[in-house]
Each structure stands twice: as C-alpha cells, then as structure tokens.
C-alpha cells in the first residue's frame, strides 16, 4: 500500500502567448489557454505506476483558481482517485513560499501519505523551488529531479539527474517527497472509462481560511513581488550574405565581427 499525493498545477499552454497582467504583474490567466502542466502529467503517471504495483490511493492536490478544476479533472480521468483543490481569491499573487505553505496545509488534510510527487518545475513560473520548500515545511526527505523512481517496501530509490552534477543515486525511507523531470516516463492518455469516471470522483474544495491561513497569503503579504516586466524584444531581421564567390569569406567576417570566431 502506497498512498500518494501528486501536486498539480494549471498553467498557460506553452503554445499560446504568455504574459503578465498590466496592473499587478501577476500571471495573466485570461490571456492564454490553460492546461494541466505537462510535467504534472508525468508526476501523475509515475504515481499511477507505483499504485498499480503496490496498491494504495492517489490524491491530487492543486492550488489555483476555480478553472484549475479542468486540470484536476484531467488528472482524475488519467486514474487518480480523488482531489483536494484550494481555491481562494485571497491567494491571488501568492509567491513560492506562500504557495508551499498552502500546499503543506492541504497535503496535511490527506491521511496516511507515504509519498508526495511533484514536477521539478512548472512551465510558467519556472522557479522550481516548491518541492524543496514543501519538503522542508513537512520535515520530509526530498529526492528531487528524478528520472527514475522505485518504491520497495518502506523505501524509495531515485536516480537524480541534473545538468551540473550528472546522475546521483538517492534513497530514503517513506514518507518522502520526490520531484520528477521530463525523462521519467511518457504519461498515459485518459481512457474513455477514465473520462467518464472522473466526474464521480470526490474533489474537496478548500479556502485559505479552511487551512487556517487567512490574512497570511496573497500579493500584499508576498515575500517577493514583480516590479516590472518587459516583453522579449522582437527578433531583428538577420543579415543576408549573397554569395558571389566570396560567400564563405563574408560569413567568416561577419562571425568574427560578432566575436563568435
């Protein structure tokens, strides 16, 4: 029996134009299509694989506005058993620390958690700190950037992969928190039965007050705020080299002028 919590986040689709709201520099959620973050689909897949091998229950925990319900439904249709959805206007503009606090409280409402699985970073904020902060808050061992996970009895083993350090083998006793990278697996598509069953699965809705965090969260209480942002400058037209027998020389001259060779 392994009871697993998977953290999921709804993010703007990476295929659509993503921007910050003009007023307060928070994410402009209306500007783009919202989808379940792909890394979370992989986290769910891993949870389902572990559940299928060891039995247990998979609970999805999500902090986000009401429409994040779609992301939760997708997770449930893939095969997760139930969900906890923290949705509250007061959370608007929450930073990484606050979000982690909310997640810690929300995970605390789930009984008998053996393993928490997160994506290593969301495709919108890309802070990548939530898994570590959450593990600290919950006092759990953290095994992050996993490209392979095995759960056996009371232990979890992870192949950790980062660009700087290469591959490290980690092991911890449960309960523990892991975060996965995009090499971990290929997420399944929801089956027709899964889609039809998702509607009947329980989703517990909670507010900041329900978690005892009233007045501590939101933009006004955030430890970090975005002061300004500017769009990426448009790509400038490249320099065209017409080959009149001296194309190679011209290209080399150009690269040298840019100090590239």
């Amino acid at each position: 029996m392994t009871n697993i919590v998977v953290l999921v986040k709804q993010v703007p689709d990476t295929y659509s134009e993503r921007k910050l709201a003009a007023g307060d520099n928070t994410l402009d959620r209306e500007a783009a299509d919202a989808v379940l973050d792909e890394i979370n689909e992989r986290a769910i897949e891993e949870a389902l694989v572990i559940k299928e091998a060891n039995e247990g229950e998979v609970t999805v925990v999500c902090v986000g506005p009401d429409r994040a319900n779609d992301a939760i439904r997708k997770a449930l249709s893939m095969g997760a058993d139930k969900a906890v959805h923290v949705s509250d206007e007061a959370l608007h503009g929450a930073d990484i620390l606050q979000t982690s606090k909310v997640l810690a409280k929300a995970v605390g409402t789930v009984e008998g958690v053996d393993l928490i699985i997160a994506g290593n970073e969301a495709s919108d904020g890309r802070g990548g700190a939530v898994p570590a902060v959450l593990a600290e808050l919950l006092g759990l061992p953290q095994l992050t950037h996993a490209r392979k996970v095995t759960v056996e009895g009371g232990t979890v083993k992870v192949e950790r992969e980062t660009a700087d350090e290469g591959i490290t083998h980690l092991e911890a006793s449960l309960p523990a928190l892991i975060s996965v990278n995009e090499k971990i697996n290929e997420p399944r598509y929801p089956s027709f039965k899964g889609i039809m069953a998702a509607k009947k699965k329980p989703v517990e809705k909670l507010t900041a007050a329900d978690l005892g965090l009233d007045g501590e969260v939101g933009l006004a209480n955030a430890a970090s705020t975005v002061l300004e942002s500017a769009p990426k400058p448009p790509r400038e037209a490249g320099q065209r080299v017409d080959d009149e027998g001296d194309g190679g020389v011209k290209v080399a001259e150009y690269l040298a002028s840019q100090k590239l060779i």
Binding site: K74, Y189, F192
Partner: protein
Amino acid sequence: MSFVESDERKALRAAVFELATGYGHQYIARKARAGEHADELWAEAGKLGYLGVNLPEQYGGGGGGMAELATVLEELGAGGCPLLMMVVSPAICGTIINRFGTEEQRSRWLPGLADASTIMAFAITEPDAGSNSHRITTTARRDGDDWVLSGQKVFISGVDWADAVLVVSRTADAKTGKLKPALFIVPTDVPGFEYRPIEMDLVSVDRQFQVFLDEVRLPAEALVGSEDAALAQLFAGLNPERIMASAFALGIARYALDKAVTYANQRQVWGTAIGAHQGVSHPLAQLKIEIELAKLMTQKAAYLYDMGDDFGAGEAANMAKYAAAEASARTVDQAVQVHGGNGLASEYGLGTLIAASRVGRIAPVSREMILNFVAQNSLGLPKSY
C-alpha cells in the same frame, strides 16, 4: 440536446485529438505509402476504449452512443489520422450485431469490436449493385443446417485487415421462393473466400478489395439474428454509417482548414501575411461556417439516433453526410490552393488528402442518392428510378 458539450465530451475530444496529433498525419501517410495499416494507432486507441465507446459496457464497450463514436472519429481526423475502418467495424457491424445478433453472436464478436482487437469489414457493394442495392446477387442457399454463400463484392474496405466480413446477401424465402436480404458473418480465413486489392489512387491505410465468395460453407450461426430481420438490420446500420461518414469527412475538413489558416498567417508574398487578402481569407471563413454547420447537423443526427429515433435520425444523418462531404472536398481543395506549390509538396501533408477528401461524396452513399432521398422524402418530389 444541448448546444454546450458536456465536460466529458470535451475531455474525450481533447484526449483523442492529443493522441492523433501525437502520431500525426505523417504517420498515416508513411503507413499508407508503405502499404501498411495503422496498427499502432488502432491498437492504442482501442486499448483506451475510444474505438468501442458506442458498444454496451457488458461487452467491454464504453456504454456511450453514436455521438461519442463520431466525436472520436472526428478528432482523429482533425489530428491528421482519419480511420475509415471506424465507420465499418464498431459503427455498422457493431451496431447491427448488438441490435440484432443472437446472444451468442454478441458475446462472440462484441468484446473484440469494443477494444478493437477484432476488426470487421462490411460488404454490400457489388459490381452491378452500388447505388442500387436492390440488385445484389450474392446468394445464400441452405444445405442441411449450413449455409452456402456465392457471389462477388467490390470496393470492400479493410478486408485484408479484418477478422471477418459482414456480408449482405440474399436467400430464397422458404414459403414464397422470393429473394430477400440476409446478413452473414464470414471469417476471412474460410475456404472459398478470396480477395484481391483494387488499385486505388487514394493515400489510405485502409485499402479496397474485390471479394469472391465461391461456395463458402458457413454454420447456421453465421446468419445474423433471424432470417426475416435482415431489412431492419440493414436500416439499423444506415444511420451509424452516415453519421460516421460525416465525422470522417469533418475530421479531414478541420485538419485541412487548420493547416490553411496556419499557412495563411505565416506566408508573406507582398510584405503582409497572405491571410490578409480577402481572396484568401473569405473562402476560409466560408469553409469555417460550412464545417460548423455540418458538425451541428452531425450532432443532431447522432443525438436523435442515440435517443432511439431511427426515423427522425435518417433525414438528419443524410443531410449531415451531404454537408460534411461537401465541406471536406471544398476545404482540402482550398487548403491546397492557399499553400500554392507547397499544397502539392509532400512535406505539407495536403496532397495526400485530395482523394480522401472526396470519398465522402461517393461512399457509403453518393451525394446524388442523398439528394434523391431529400427530394423524395423531405420535399415529396417524384422519383425518376
């Protein structure tokens, strides 16, 4: 019927579309050119329950209806992977066996059709009986408990891929001696059953075949349901066939429109995107409208059919098939035009659809026969034939 789709329907759309785009049109084109089937996609979609959504749960199906099945085929097509055999295997054959088969036939065939591990083709067309199916000459005669089947069929899709073919034939009525239709499930490996591919200029993973039935001996239980129910069986298969033909055409149309719009936004010839020229944008806007209208009529037909209104569904299904077939032929045509030379370049995946986009105008029933139906039944005009 609501104009707003349920959350489940939207989720099904999204999931199937994602699966199809994961494979992509290049997968289908490559398989078709190599003379192969879409085995991987068919198997994966089958395992996920997408190809048997219309069949009852007790036989392993999804317990949904034609509305769900049509949604699946439309989204596969919109994602670049139209699967013709969906029209035949789960829709026509699955429906007929489920509604008219004996309990034995249902438990023998439906679980395989539901998870798509079994494929069944459907054979009605003959060299001298296309639009006029009254002229079918394939005949079954009794020999003891057995049936012996002889005749010839043409343009039968997917025979090489199928485990069995649902064959429309005729038998002599025991009392009057007059010929009446009868449907038989014919496994493709029985003695006397042969098939030969027809060379088609169609880039498709589902090929068409000539089928020869030479004294094919079948056990009594090969006859679907009772001997007298064949006409009702054929009629029961018509609506699913037309609704699915609409979905097939709609998927192709949506795929082509999306390609055209993307290209019209990117391609610049006079310093501005070609989509800014109304000569380019207006035809695409018209097609968008035609596709949406055809989709609405398809949904209406599926809704009426799923409600059990076979008769009411008939008119809507015919109109939907007409509209969707026109939309697919016209959209692919326009999408090729918008792409200029690239419209015929393999890389852009449109040339492969030119023939496929016209299938809906011919099969399973031609545009003219639909217009005949509407002229006679909806308008009460006289018949010429």
